[in-house]
């Protein structure tokens, strides 16, 4: 079982790495990180701040775009090319296929983020000629960005298990945007009463809490991130992603592929 998932994940990774769109996006993200150096130079005293803010924002946004645009084709491409039938005709279960696809794209994003993160640290080194102790928190922010990618990948996979690629992209991106406002939604739930309050509370638990995974502004100012936050955010992102993948498996198990 594990070997089969691993093989599907490895193939998904290979396929994603061959995709030219991926390189374009990474190049664009690195260009933005490089651009941060220029922006910092025309301002006063915020070189490092701009490099961290713009660099991490570029990683986050381009990573989300990669997660969505590759994620939406994970299932539909296999159906379109009829390769899915070949895979499922072998001793591969549908849920193993979904899990493999998830791990494959997740791995791709982790590797991408590693390279884009290197770009940010190179830009930091360029503007200040040395690293500071507080730069370690940038690594935590990058880790949280990877958790965001895992959430978005799982959601995209869930939508692509029953919807067209275009609609999957719209759904996943909308949920990502709503997720960035999830703390406002929770604030609204806290002051609302009765059925509205229940509904808002329920919705705030269902939508992904992207906002909690964004510590870019605070790490840019060298502020530390609480250990508890790292622990619980990790638990939250993994459980939420597992929930979305389970949803994708449930839909895909019942899907008529004929």
């Amino acid at each position: 079982m594990t070997a089969r998932i691993f093989h599907i994940a490895r193939n998904t990774f290979r396929e994603a790495v061959r995709d030219r769109v991926l390189y374009n996006l990474i190049a664009f993200a690195l260009l933005m990180i490089g651009g941060a150096v220029l922006v910092g130079q025309v301002s006063i005293g915020i070189e490092r701040l701009v490099v961290i803010n713009l660099g991490l924002t570029a990683i986050s946004l381009f990573g989300i775009v990669i997660a969505i645009f590759i994620g939406i084709g994970l299932v539909s491409k296999e159906i379109e090319k009829r390769t899915l039938y070949t895979i499922l005709s072998r001793p591969v279960r549908r849920w193993e296929f979904i899990a493999g696809k998830f791990f494959g794209l997740g791995g791709t994003l982790v590797v991408n983020t590693f390279f884009m993160g290197l770009g940010v640290f190179a830009a930091l080194l360029y503007v200040s000629h040395h690293f500071e102790k507080s730069d370690a928190w940038v690594l935590v922010a990058i880790y949280f960005i990877i958790l965001q990618f895992i959430l978005v990948t799982a959601l995209t996979l869930f939508f692509s298990s029953f919807s067209s690629p275009l609609l999957s992209a719209v759904f996943a991106f909308s949920l990502f945007v709503i997720g960035t406002f999830s703390e406002d939604l929770r604030g609204f739930a806290a002051v609302a009463h009765g059925a509205t309050g229940w509904l808002a509370t329920g919705a705030s638990y269902i939508v992904p809490n992207i906002a909690a995974l964004n510590v870019i502004s605070s790490v840019a100012h060298g502020q530390p991130v609480a250990g508890g936050l790292v622990l619980y955010n990790t638990g939250y992102a993994l459980l939420y992603a597992a929930m979305a993948v389970c949803g994708a498996v449930l839909v895909f198990e019942r899907r008529n592929l004929k």
Binding site: R94, D184, R186, F188, N209, G228, G235, L239, M243, E253
Partner: protein, 308 residues
């Protein structure tokens, strides 16, 4: 049970467990990041920038900002805050996005003008907010009424209060109360009867439950503030007539000075203290009272909610 069915069952159970686990984790995250959205930072402080960034959806953005202003005020009020730094900018952005959102002027000016800890204690900012509202909604008499109320209650500026009521009273579809208040303000601004009229007007002109409850509480407080000095003068007269202090109001009833034991608006009897002062039995039940409280008494913040 076939293999597919078993996978579905196991996945469903796992999904529910993951949902419960993620909710648990999220609650833990919230404990660490409590009130993260309402921290003392306003990322877009310029109303014009907020309007441009709304991409034409300024109505919806105004609703969101108004909700954030209410949340900000509610959270700070619940914590007994003395400062409400972001309240005026939040209300400024809300009303710039939607200048016709009259509820933001009405409630927002109350949040701003009321003294801490019940409000931000920024009556001048409240005046600016309502004047902006009047500029954009010149036919809404409620705004002139709000403006007059701020001048009267928080700034004790009876001339401007009278002027605001007079301006409001000249509108085509105004409330008759405004004409009466304008006249009253010009002649007897500082007395209790005027205060009673103001709060009666607030009670009668509003349809909001919280506003009505607030006005009723002020009316009860005015009743106490009026009754306590009268009772104290009766106690003093009894002392002068008999040469000793009455132990309770039953003594005054027996002497014929009173026909019954006097009770406050909550139905509780007033008390005579050994030094001759009169106090209410339970001051916490009568917010806003200025007389009839024990020495050094500090009233708790009134419990009211603006969320409904």
């Amino acid at each position: 049970m076939n293999a597919t069915r078993r996978v579905e069952w196991e996945t469903s159970v796992l999904l529910l467990l993951c949902l419960a686990g993620s909710v648990f984790m999220l609650r833990r995250v919230e404990r660490i990041r409590s009130s993260a959205t309402l921290r003392e930072v306003l990322f877009i402080s310029s109303p014009q920038a907020a309007k441009r960034l709304s991409l034409g959806y300024d109505g919806l953005m105004a609703d969101i900002y108004w909700t954030r202003a209410v949340q900000y005020f509610g959270n700070h009020h619940a914590q007994g805050a003395e400062e409400y730094k972001l309240l005026a900018p939040l209300l400024g952005i809300t009303t710039a996005l939607d200048p016709h959102l009259t509820v933001a002027y009405e409630f927002g000016s109350t949040f701003l003008s009321t003294s801490p800890p019940n409000g931000a204690g920024m009556p001048q900012e409240a005046v600016k907010l309502v004047e902006y509202g009047i500029k954009n909604n010149p036919d809404d008499w409620h705004l002139y009424y709000n403006l007059g109320f701020i001048y009267y209650l928080e700034l004790k500026d009876y001339k401007n209060a009278a002027d605001a009521f007079r301006r409001g009273s000249q509108l085509p579809h105004t409330h008759p109360w405004l004409k009466i208040l304008a006249a009253r303000m010009s002649e007897h601004a500082g007395d209790l009867e005027t205060a009673r009229m103001m709060w009666s007007a607030a009670y009668q002109t509003s349809t909001d439950k919280q506003v009505k409850a607030n006005a009723a509480a002020h009316l009860r407080a005015l009743d106490v503030d009026e009754t306590v000095p009268i009772l104290e003068s009766m106690v003093d007269k009894y002392r002068r007539d008999t040469g000793h202090m009455p132990l309770n109001f039953a003594n005054l009833v027996r002497s014929g000075a009173l026909t019954a034991i006097p009770r406050d608006p909550t139905g509780r009897p007033y008390k005579i203290m050994p030094d001759g002062h009169v106090e209410v039995s339970k001051p916490d039940a009568l917010p806003f009272i200025e007389k009839g409280t024990p020495p050094g008494y500090v009233a708790p913040p009134p419990k009211f909610s603006y969320s409904e």
